[in-house]
Every structure is written in structure tokens, then in C-alpha cells.
Amino acid sequence: MREIHINEIINSLEKLFIDANINLSQSVLECFERSIEKEESPAGKEVFRELIKNATIAKEEKIPICQDTGLAVTFIEIGQDVHITGGNFIDSINEGVRRAYKKGYLRKSCCDPFSRKNTGDNTPAIIHTKVVPGDHIKITVMPKGGGSENYGEVRMLVPSQGWEGVKSFVLEMVNRGGPNPCPPIIVGVGIGGNFETSALLSKEALMEPLGKRNDDAAIGALETELLEAINRTGIGPQGYGGTVTALDVHIKMMPCHIASLPVAVNIQCHAHRIKEAIL
């Protein structure tokens, strides 16, 4: 049994959320660079140039890439041989978020659903936990903006709709969003499980590295098929028209009920902010 004090969790979350919001990952930047070449529209190319400049300025000036610093989404894997000491685990996550959003001058975007009153410190965080073998804690943070999140959906398809049904649902979501979710987008597709796990799978799909195809080659081929179809919509960077509407598409799949075909689409904007740490 390994002991991990909550202070380590708090400090890690504080650092990760500030880092994620200010420093765009190299992999996303490289994807922008490649996309300038791929993009056919002059306005689309100009958008990519602006995004690269934006990432550079954010890093130099230590200000967020995007003013929508998101809801604080966290995925935490807890080794089963870890004993968390010093206080309440959930409270420690929220404390880390609270400190990050204050110290990092990040926007607090969390409010009451009806009164719209801001909670003031960007808590509560969205917390997903998983117990895994080992004696470490792995923390992944993904501040997620509202603009892109608004264009996702869970739909219970009829099994006979199959892959064609899934594909047309994803394209419907992409076309419905058009310029609004800040393309170039990344599309996470969760297939199977039940109502809520399909949604979670679609979010987890967004955490896959850009350019990586699914380990299952058949699913990988479907990802490629979807990516190509999305890039034929013509929406383009910022919706100004173009050939790079999505940077990537990831599918996560698991078995489902014999009566169901749950599918979730979660859309991510180009401000693809993910950072992780292992304690």
C-alpha cells in the first residue's frame, strides 16, 4: 500500500489546469502546421496561421489560448494499492481546480442551470474515476469549452441502422454545428455500452492522440472513413469554407444490449487542451 497525500493531488491539478489552458500541446501545433498544407481555401489557411500565432502568444504572454477555459473535466485513474491520506479525495480535486482558475487568471464558466449564477471558482469539477491495478494515481485534465460541447448528442439507434446509421448521425452533428463549435474540430464517437457509457466513451475517444488509429484495424478504417466524409462537407476552418473541417476522428466501442445501438458524438474544438501527470 502506497500513501499519497491530498496535497499532491491538489498541486498536480493546479499545475495541470494552468498548463493545459496556456500551453497548447506540441502534437496539436504540429497538426496545425500539417493542415496549412492540406487546406485548400486561402481563408482556411489564414485561420491555421492565426491559430499557430495564437498558441505562440499564449505561451509567451502566459494567458489562455482561449478565453473559454472550460468546465474542469478530469479523468483520474487510482491504483488499487494507493491509500489517499490527509483529507477528502473529491474535495482535493475541487481545491486544485479552484486554485488553478484563480492563480492562472482562468475564466470561471460554471453556473447554476436556471438562475445562471456563477459558482465563482469553476467548481464543481467534472470527475471521472477508475480503479486500476498498481500504486499510482494518473490524472488527466481536459478543460472543455461550452461552444463545442453544445454540439454533441447521445442517440439510441435501432440495431438495424448499423454503421450507416452511425455515420449519418455523426455527419448530421457536424453539419448542424457548422462553424459554431470552432472548427477544425476533433470528433469523439462512443458506440455501444448503454445510454451513459456511450457518452463517456465519446469523451474518452477525444483523449486519444491525434493521428492515432484505433488498435482494431476495422474500427480504424471506420475512423478514416468518417474523417474523410467530414472533410468533404466543405465547412472548413471556422466554417469559412475549406477542406480541413476536422483534425481527427476517434471511435471507442464496447458491446451493447441485444436491443440497442447507443451512439454518442462529442465534439471538441481546435483548442484541444489535454495534460496529464502520474503521482
Binding site: I57, Y105, S109, R116, G147, G234, G239, G241
Partner: protein, 184 residues
């Protein structure tokens, strides 16, 4: 890109006539931020027969809720938010002389019609490029609704703010033009 086009606020009729969907422009002068909550208050104020806290004639509203300004900077990251949430409020403001709106994403037919009728323009700022856009801001002053935090109405002095014309007075829409051109 073609030759750089510079425009200023307050926006005059000559400028409005020259703006065409699809072109990139650089905006300088004073603009006002307002998003969901501020728009709701604007319309409530007008419905009560009272005056708006700002004179919007020939002005430009930026749909933006910036991140907090770090010490020594006029503003934090300040990209646009999705404009469609302001669609129900925009035609009324355009009828009162508002000349420009800056945001991201599609507008309703009612807004596009009002842009033509009242001779105004809708600009797109690059969503998610909040750090880049912050470099265009020289100063910021809270004008109204300070209690709304990131949703307060703030007057921004901007220099060479990079924008694309999305909807012009001729009924053109860059989003529609772009898709038609590049759809395969």
C-alpha cells in the same frame, strides 16, 4: 491574402457599403463587449422604456466574455463566443443603429434580414484565438453591469483587430459561400 483592409469605429455608411462577405479586415477604435446576460438586460431596459447604458448608434458589439486580466495587461484571453445565442436580441439593437457585431458562428435569418434592412455587418473573429485577439486590445474600461463578471459590458480600445466579414448588406453569407465552394 489580398491587400490588407483597415476600418474604424464608429462605422459609417461608406465603410458598410465597401464590406463584402469573405474579406479579411482589421478593425480599430472603440468596441463594446456584451454577451448573453448583458443582452438580456439591454432588451429588458428597452422594454421598460429606459435608455441603454451605451449609445450604440454606429457602434460595434463584440460577443465576448474575456478571461481575467493578469496584472499589467488590459485584458486576458478574449476570443468570440457563439453569436446565435444573441440572435433573439440583435434585430432590436440593429434597428436602434448598431452597425456591427463580432462573434463566431451562424446567424438566424431574422438577423441576416436586419443586417440588410438596417445596413450593418456581422464579423467573425477566430474562435479559440483569444490570446491573438488580446494583442489587439490597447485598453479596457468597464461601462456597465460590473456584477456580471466576465459578462459585464466593457469598452475595448482595439487596434488592427483581425476579422472576417461573414454577413454583408448585400445578403452574402461567408458560411454558405464557403460550403458551396468546398463541398465535395
Amino acid at each position: 491574402m489580398e491587400e490588407l483592409k483597415h476600418i474604424n469605429t464608429p462605422v459609417d455608411e461608406k465603410t458598410i457599403k465597401e464590406l463584402k462577405a469573405g474579406e479579411k479586415v482589421f478593425l480599430s477604435g472603440y468596441i463594446f463587449t456584451a454577451r448573453d446576460a448583458a443582452h438580456k438586460r439591454f432588451i429588458d431596459t428597452l422594454n421598460e422604456g429606459k435608455e441603454l447604458p451605451i449609445d450604440i448608434r454606429n457602434q460595434v458589439i463584440y460577443y465576448c466574455g474575456p478571461s481575467p486580466a493578469p496584472p499589467g495587461k488590459p485584458i486576458g484571453s478574449c476570443g468570440p463566443t457563439t453569436s446565435s445565442r444573441m440572435d433573439t436580441y440583435a434585430p432590436k439593437l440593429l434597428s436602434l443603429g448598431l452597425k456591427g457585431m463580432i462573434g463566431k458562428g451562424k446567424r438566424s435569418q431574422a438577423v441576416k434580414d436586419a443586417i440588410k434592412q438596417y445596413r450593418a455587418v456581422y464579423f467573425g473573429a477566430t474562435g479559440g484565438a483569444g490570446a491573438l485577439l488580446s494583442k489587439s486590445v490597447i485598453s479596457s474600461t468597464i461601462i456597465a453591469y460590473e456584477e456580471l463578471g466576465p459578462e459585464a459590458v466593457v469598452r475595448l480600445e482595439v487596434r488592427n483587430m483581425p476579422l472576417f466579414v461573414i454577413n454583408d448588406i448585400y445578403g452574402n453569407d461567408l458560411y454558405e459561400m464557403g460550403i458551396l465552394k468546398y463541398r465535395r
